[in-house]
């Protein structure tokens, strides 16, 4: 497979592994946070950790769109299906995310709710056209990568005068979340979590460019390397981070130059800016309420805003007791530190969101890495 196999070559991986071993300083640790679930997935699927020296550690971040969606928002989506009788369209991963009272969209579907898994916003528009007498809501989630298709869908619905389509917006912003992690007390004051550098998101950066990271690289003095999702990308970026740390630099570097530019995809940015604006604050699972970290639909398009079209109950849902997803999402704990991991919480029966998506740290640990990090017996 062209443009893919080149980035998975064993021989190059060995050379890079040797360079990393050679250049890393054995007297210190390198704690490198991969923000994106896509990187977490690649690290586990290809066994990248096996090729790293002991003192180079991956810290898994909150960049899994399914994982950071708070329970309350899923409760609200369920309300739309059950009380408002809408056709709810969403991406597949979200169906299994636990909501309050052990409910989930997949269970709501089994009980007769009209929940449909779609592969793109275009499918949701098609369903709306085909069902003119039903309300069709697209449950939109994701970082900057999935935001432009949502913007296009709303623009299209507007042009077509599609009156039964609306979008339940849960789009969140990457730079705000990274900044929040760096400002969290664990990182700043207590120092219990040390994050020395960041792998910058790849797909997200193809939209927003590398510029938005420049502020906090400077402000928090942490290097950022925008990294592709292939395993060789991850290793090359690790080497670039190690070099910056060794030289005391904290710059934004771009390993993923075949896709990401400094300015990003400006056409996509314009479309997003036409439809969406900043939300004053948004709740993230794991990070709590983060100011200006999410998007909402602008007034000019409010006809297509599910939050305006329907009255949504205010949900005060709490995470399952004992679930360490919040700390895991901040990089403060590892999945194996959670008492629920592998005991009551498994991919078949996820208690927390990190166990649901294959990009979630817990699911990735469970599926690909648990033989190396056996479940710790709780005392």
């Amino acid at each position: 497979m062209k443009y893919v196999d080149e980035f998975r070559q064993h021989k190059l991986a060995k050379q890079l592994a040797a360079a990393i071993k050679d250049e890393s300083d054995p007297s210190r640790n390198y704690n490198l946070m991969e923000f994106c679930g896509g990187h977490t997935h690649a690290i586990f699927r290809y066994g990248v950790q096996d090729l790293m020296p002991e003192n180079v550690k991956f810290v898994h971040g909150p960049g899994c769109p399914v994982c950071v969606l708070p329970i309350g928002r899923i409760d609200e989506a369920i309300h739309l299906v059950e009380a408002e009788d809408v056709i709810l369209c969403t991406y597949g991963d979200l169906l299994r995310v636990p909501a309050s009272g052990r409910n989930s969209l997949i269970k709501v579907k089994a009980a007769g709710g009209d929940v449909r898994m779609v592969y793109s916003t275009q499918d949701a528009l098609r369903i709306a056209r085909e069902n003119p007498d039903r309300e069709v809501v697209f449950l939109a989630i994701g970082f900057e990568t999935t935001t432009p298709p949502s913007a296009v869908a709303i623009q299209q619905a507007d042009t077509e005068g599609l009156k039964n389509f609306s979008l339940f917006c849960n789009h969140v912003l990457t730079p705000a979340a990274i900044q929040n992690i760096l400002e969290s007390p664990e990182v700043r004051e207590i120092g219990s979590v040390s994050i020395d550098g960041f792998f910058g998101p790849s797909h997200v950066s193809s939209i927003i460019g590398s510029r938005p990271y420049e502020f906090f690289a400077e402000e928090f003095q942490r290097p950022v390397v925008i990294a592709g999702f292939e395993p060789l990308d991850v290793m090359q970026s690790a080497l670039m981070l190690i070099r910056q740390l060794n030289e005391g630099r904290y710059e934004v570097e771009n390993e993923y130059t075949r896709v990401v530019s400094r300015e990003g995809n400006q056409k996509a940015q314009l479309r997003v800016a036409d439809v969406f604006e900043l939300r004053r604050s948004f709740e993230w699972r794991g990070l709590g309420t983060v100011p200006y970290s999410a998007l909402k639909i602008k007034k000019t398009y409010q006809l297509f805003d599910a939050e305006k079209r329907f009255t949504l109950p205010v949900s005060q849902a709490k995470d399952v007791k004992g679930c360490e997803c919040p700390s895991i999402l901040r990089g403060a704990k590892r999945p194996t530190d959670c008492k629920l991991f592998g005991t009551v919480c498994t991919p078949e029966n996820p208690m927390g969101s990190c166990m649901v998506s294959s990009e979630g740290a817990c699911a990735a640990y469970w599926s690909y890495g648990r033989f190396r990090q056996p479940v710790q017996q709780s005392a």
């Binding site: 998975r8 290809y46 597949g92 991963d93 998506s357």
Partner: protein, 349 residues
């Protein structure tokens, strides 16, 4: 001589008519459907007897029996349809015991309104597949459910077969040191099905690998009657099948990713959809676990069969108290190849 009175004066309209409730009522309409559609395509001496059961002689020894329900969507896909699949699927389930499949039965649940033209095409394809395999459908059943209570057509097939003397193939026979053989490239069927799903249509040259594997198995059993395990990696793919076998046999497995053949088009489709080919369904491949000394002779007879040309050793059975299936990745690391949980869903970002 007087003209023979036709049983049904008007021929069954397989062009534009649809299944209705009378086709399952046991009356004349059902008799005509059986005559002019089912018996026409599936014809054989036992079926023609038109009894509620098929009677046949049995030989001494062990027999196996297997049943498989087919509920796929879409009904027609590149390289096959629900009809041929219902024949191959059950023949393969019987053959994976090392048995020679002898007879099939078929139960049809039809939804009111289902086009007779589609039914005709499906049953014709079943007849063709059964004929080519040399395993006749000797008895059947048809029911019709009201519109909205089915999904067009469901087909359940049962097969029976006879196990050659001295063959004891079972999922609990894998032993540390055994070799794991795979008969060809993986993921073709699942990708072909997905490419024709309504909301996911994409263009691909990949066709389903659906095929009856009993002749390949016959060669293998003749070469090495002491084969330990055979299984066709259908739903859940190679990963799930190996996990089942590891659990049943209380062993672990170690795979080499670079030895597992995946067609470039399948790999590309999986990459695009965020799927792992190890978990994608196959309908014409088998996994064989055998002792080290049987491996090479088996490989050479497998490669003589049109359905086993690409047979490879993909790994070996190891001791492991966790019964994990692990894999050395192409990249040079290692990972656990776990059970599939839920359905394989495309990733978001």
């Amino acid at each position: 001589m007087s003209a023979v009175v036709k049983r049904f004066p008007l021929r069954l309209d397989t062009r534009s008519a649809r299944v209705d409730m009378t086709h399952g009522s046991g009356g004349r309409a059902m008799a005509q459907l059986i005559d002019e559609l089912f018996v026409k395509h599936l014809d054989n001496a036992l079926l023609r007897q038109a009894n509620d059961q098929a009677a046949f002689d049995v030989t001494a020894g062990r027999m196996v029996m297997s049943v498989d329900g087919h509920v796929i969507s879409p009904l027609f896909f590149p390289g096959g349809d629900i009809g041929s699949l219902s024949v191959h699927g059950t023949i393969n389930d019987v053959a994976m015991s090392g048995a020679v499949p002898r007879y099939l039965s078929a139960g049809f649940i039809l939804e009111e309104g289902f086009p007779l033209a589609d039914l005709d095409r499906i049953v014709a394809s079943m007849g063709k597949a059964a004929n080519a395999a040399g395993v006749p459908v000797v008895t059947g059943d048809t029911k019709v459910v009201e519109k909205g209570k089915g999904d067009g057509i469901f087909i359940t097939t049962t097969g029976i077969g006879v196990v050659p003397e001295g063959v004891r193939i079972s999922g609990d026979q894998a032993r540390p040191g055994d070799q794991i053989l795979l008969s060809g490239s993986i993921g073709d069927h699942g990708v072909a099905i997905m490419s024709s799903r309504e909301n996911l249509e994409f263009e691909t040259s990949i066709e389903s690998d659906a095929a009856s594997l009993h002749r390949l198995v016959e060669r293998m059993v003749a070469c090495a009657p002491s084969i330990h395990c055979l299984r066709d990696p259908t739903r859940g793919g190679v990963a799930t099948t190996l996990n089942e076998l590891a659990m049943q046999s209380q062993v672990g497995m170690r795979l080499i990713e670079s030895d597992i053949p995946v067609k470039p088009a399948v790999a590309s489709a999986c990459e695009l959809l965020g799927l792992d080919p190890l978990y994608v369904a196959n309908e014409g491949k088998l996994i064989c676990i055998c002792s080290k000394q049987d491996a090479e002779p088996l490989l050479s007879v497998m490669r003589e069969d049109p359905l086993g040309l690409e047979s490879r050793i993909i790994g070996e059975v190891v001791e492991d108290p966790h019964h994990f299936v692990q894999m050395e990745t192409l990249f040079g690391g290692s990972r656990v190849v776990d059970w599939l949980s839920g359905e394989q869903l495309p990733r978001i970002c």
